[in-house]
Symmetry: D2
Subunit: 338 residues, 4 copies
Amino acid sequence: MIVVMNRDATPTEVDHVVQLVREMGLKEHVIHGTELTVVAVIGDDRKKDKERIELAPGVDRVLRVLAPYKLAAREAHPARTTVRIGASCVVGGAQIPVIAGPCSVEGEAQILAAARHVKAAGGHALRGGAFKPRTNPYAFQGMGEEGLKLLAAAREATGLPIVTEVVAPSDVDLVARYADCLQVGTRNAQNFRLLDAVGRQAKPVLYKRGMWMTIDEYLQAAEYILAAGNPQVILCERGIRTFEDHTRNTLSLSAIPELHARSHLPVLVDPSQGTGHARLVPAMCKAAVAAGADSLLIEMHPDPEHAVTDGAQSISPQVLAELVVSLRRIAQALDRSV
Amino acid sequence: MIVVMNRDATPTEVDHVVQLVREMGLKEHVIHGTELTVVAVIGDDRKKDKERIELAPGVDRVLRVLAPYKLAAREAHPARTTVRIGASCVVGGAQIPVIAGPCSVEGEAQILAAARHVKAAGGHALRGGAFKPRTNPYAFQGMGEEGLKLLAAAREATGLPIVTEVVAPSDVDLVARYADCLQVGTRNAQNFRLLDAVGRQAKPVLYKRGMWMTIDEYLQAAEYILAAGNPQVILCERGIRTFEDHTRNTLSLSAIPELHARSHLPVLVDPSQGTGHARLVPAMCKAAVAAGADSLLIEMHPDPEHAVTDGAQSISPQVLAELVVSLRRIAQALDRSV
Amino acid sequence: MIVVMNRDATPTEVDHVVQLVREMGLKEHVIHGTELTVVAVIGDDRKKDKERIELAPGVDRVLRVLAPYKLAAREAHPARTTVRIGASCVVGGAQIPVIAGPCSVEGEAQILAAARHVKAAGGHALRGGAFKPRTNPYAFQGMGEEGLKLLAAAREATGLPIVTEVVAPSDVDLVARYADCLQVGTRNAQNFRLLDAVGRQAKPVLYKRGMWMTIDEYLQAAEYILAAGNPQVILCERGIRTFEDHTRNTLSLSAIPELHARSHLPVLVDPSQGTGHARLVPAMCKAAVAAGADSLLIEMHPDPEHAVTDGAQSISPQVLAELVVSLRRIAQALDRSV
Amino acid sequence: MIVVMNRDATPTEVDHVVQLVREMGLKEHVIHGTELTVVAVIGDDRKKDKERIELAPGVDRVLRVLAPYKLAAREAHPARTTVRIGASCVVGGAQIPVIAGPCSVEGEAQILAAARHVKAAGGHALRGGAFKPRTNPYAFQGMGEEGLKLLAAAREATGLPIVTEVVAPSDVDLVARYADCLQVGTRNAQNFRLLDAVGRQAKPVLYKRGMWMTIDEYLQAAEYILAAGNPQVILCERGIRTFEDHTRNTLSLSAIPELHARSHLPVLVDPSQGTGHARLVPAMCKAAVAAGADSLLIEMHPDPEHAVTDGAQSISPQVLAELVVSLRRIAQALDRSV
């Protein structure tokens, strides 16, 4: 921490800050500039509340120097982490797996058809929601355990591992029994109890960034999962809230190289949630791969127009099949594969 | 809904939209403009997914006409709702109660001192967190049930009703046993399971807006609580995420008259979270009252500099006492009281 | 400046940073922490580009300690600045002048009627645009010099000083010939040539914050006017761009106490532009006064429904008259007047 | 336009809206729904102010159906526009030209070295600022005409056409005398006088999106240039203002397919301004090409660490040379070239 004193701070006020720093078990280094004084704090202050010093008399502001997460940080783990979903789908290596499927499981025929289309298009895992957090209380909330069983049947039929969302700590065991990878959605990105619960079980976690969270806050929250004991975390950029109105969210692809620079965890991109419009999804999938994404999560519905949820952002099986062909060419140009 | 067709939509595409509208049990009205065609949808389409139509061939976009919430809407309940916290504190009437106290319960002496300061300053209820959702996993997470007991003791000692946060559905019963009002925080604003759970118990709910949510999304989420059976909901503006960096959030006071226009529920403002800086709190409390707020939630700590959490945004007892005096004068100028 | 080195920065890299600091004519102070090294830079680095150091090998980031503006800063001028518009309207004192009038001058009858309504309501100055920066190229762009003449006639008739916008450096002399105060609009807030031009003439300047600018960037831009020689600058919060969709902009009232803390310049609020809806204007005017605003700029049209521009955010003469009565009561509660 | 009436609008209020529509020379179509009434407006209402109707009694809101720009719209010009910069650099075709160079012209040796590095790396045009709009009034403001002469000399020496910024209407003739393409920067994106001025001369215009502008507002502003007579406009995504703090702006790549869908104008991306960090530039260049960008604008400095402006976001000549090789491979995978 660097404590910047007010221009008119008194020596007593500076001494008081020094006192507070020492109370925290840290050391100080006082620097008298030409216009004002700063106190550099020495020691591991990651777990110290800077607010206490911010409030001391004569303090203008406090700047953090150390990132407030440890397990998620690249320094903690210089090699890149790879996360395995099921037997065959590896996220974080040279291959860029495509995880596709409908927003919601709607019935046996639908999810089986979807799984077969994903398989045929060259996809690597099936997504589909059985528990849906919906903005509107009157909208369809998912099939629950019945949906999980249908996902398992689709896995049986196609060999594709399955990724599905969990929305409450009390559902974690149930969902983990069926899924190959648990998804935590954007609206639960700071539901710390849920992060803790998925951190205490053994399946990998696809953890989406909250649409309001800075990269720093996101990695701190990911740290909850890691600190609870689960190292298999896939980060996910899925768009942030901005003033733009041509998309539902603004997909912030610079998050990919930034997360790779700060963390060892693999980074997946969700261009369906990230734009909200099927017509923008192919371009943003290509852009995500070119920017270094380790995997893609794509909404695909066998019959988008009759999708019960999120039809507007679901692409059709044919568009997916053509997209995978394009993505393969781009991946190859980057010495990777799809 | 109004369906705007593309400029080059064919008659077959328009017919197909008409078909989809009828499949939804609604009626259509086709209008051929000089440049393009629109299909007006007639009937209650609040619970219909507009995405299905958005994806039909030839459709440019779909505009909603009816607000997607019913119980929270002003039409549903033309009189203003008042919510009672404990015996004496009424939110939504002519009086503007001040709810103050520390961010976290830290111990018996601290919370008792805080309660006495709130009482002495003329406050109407005590706030204090026993379960804390913290950005950083290594930060203090609250005292849990022990904290609830201390809050109850503070109520005993001062007569002030207590408001405290609940962060998981499985804690709702426990917290409701001690609290006079349950708070749902900004990070859980779309934790729909939690909204449902607080909707299924009898204590009033202080429900904070998610820092990423539009007014429309916020009222839809409030509808979860109402639809689960609890009509005692207090809305709360506590700042939104913007590019501004001089505050932690941007307190959007126009939400007050807007929420009052759309809903019958009372509106409280939290200027402590809404700014993140104790020095900005008094001015924003005054502004909130002048803009029509029905109540204020203020972080006050007997010794802000030694607060375990959120010290930087906590005001001191003396500042609170002076502030209440100012607020009384402003309330009076508006024919209200504090 | 505080230069934070990477965790694995070499001694050579630290030496290189020290070298760069010295090249800039500044001194350095190297602090070896337990985990990383920081270099504190000593001296007035306000006019130094920190980017040069940011790019040096081994540097993680550079934090500024000194605010990058001098003339606008409170330290430069501990007493509050008051700005006089015409003979009678003083901004920055105990009185809070109301500046009202139509968005655009539309004709003689309209502007005279408007001026009389402002006068009758108790307003202190007349606003009205003769040069209009319009989002749409096909929209009405203002009456130009003819509009300025009509404003002057309205001043003649009522005694109200006039505030009007200037949109190009080449128009500054013309507008200054008629106006009592020149307004620079939000879209021109970083049109530095225009800021320089209004800084080189003698009339006061009402300078609106760009809807994308932080407080820091805003005060730096205000510094352009001050540095060109004109100390009579009125700052103006008029709403920022955020994700909210119930208002055209989000009026950020915490800017008032923040600007007062950092600068000696008076702060005015424009709740008409700041919300975009006439129905929200009265509440936000009251809030602005309660938060400490030194003046208000309000769009009022004698016949809002037939306004050529910005009708939706213009209040009627009757609403203005009632509003001024309310504002007087609130101002009184704050020991000020309207 | 679609006029949505309030739930309790009276027949007289509906009639009044019909009246207003007819006064505008348009036709109406009244639709009585089960819960409320809407009035569909028929005719070209692009140049009509919807605010007038928004303010009529009984009106809830007014929704636009027609985009408020004509010349920039794709319908006006179904074939894609290509813009030629100098003799050889064509933007909008199969080839994706790379326009690179320093933020500012700093001297003869610097700009000549930069031009030679751009040429050697395979770039197609040279960028460099002679007039610089700087956030800080004390920062270097550019070399002016002397800088333009040096750019012309660099063109002479390398054959690369030059792109340079113009910041005021009165400088347009001067800059157009030297430049092959005039740039309008983000801070001047709604400086309508400047847009008009660059629209009245013959050189192509690289027109950057304002960091606060929606796509709709951006295309309306581009319309100013087109309407003034200059059809050679290159659109440019350069990042928008959001809450993210790991970049200076958030590069919104979904703007590329969106602008292509709405307009016939070519779309360029500026990943240097769009991120503010040299280390993020290569990934975002690749992503932009994959998303369909027609050209790239890249800050490259022969000696970034000693750049007078924007060093932090400038890449080195070596990084540029390697980047062009990567971009060629990606372009090829998309059947384009660099």
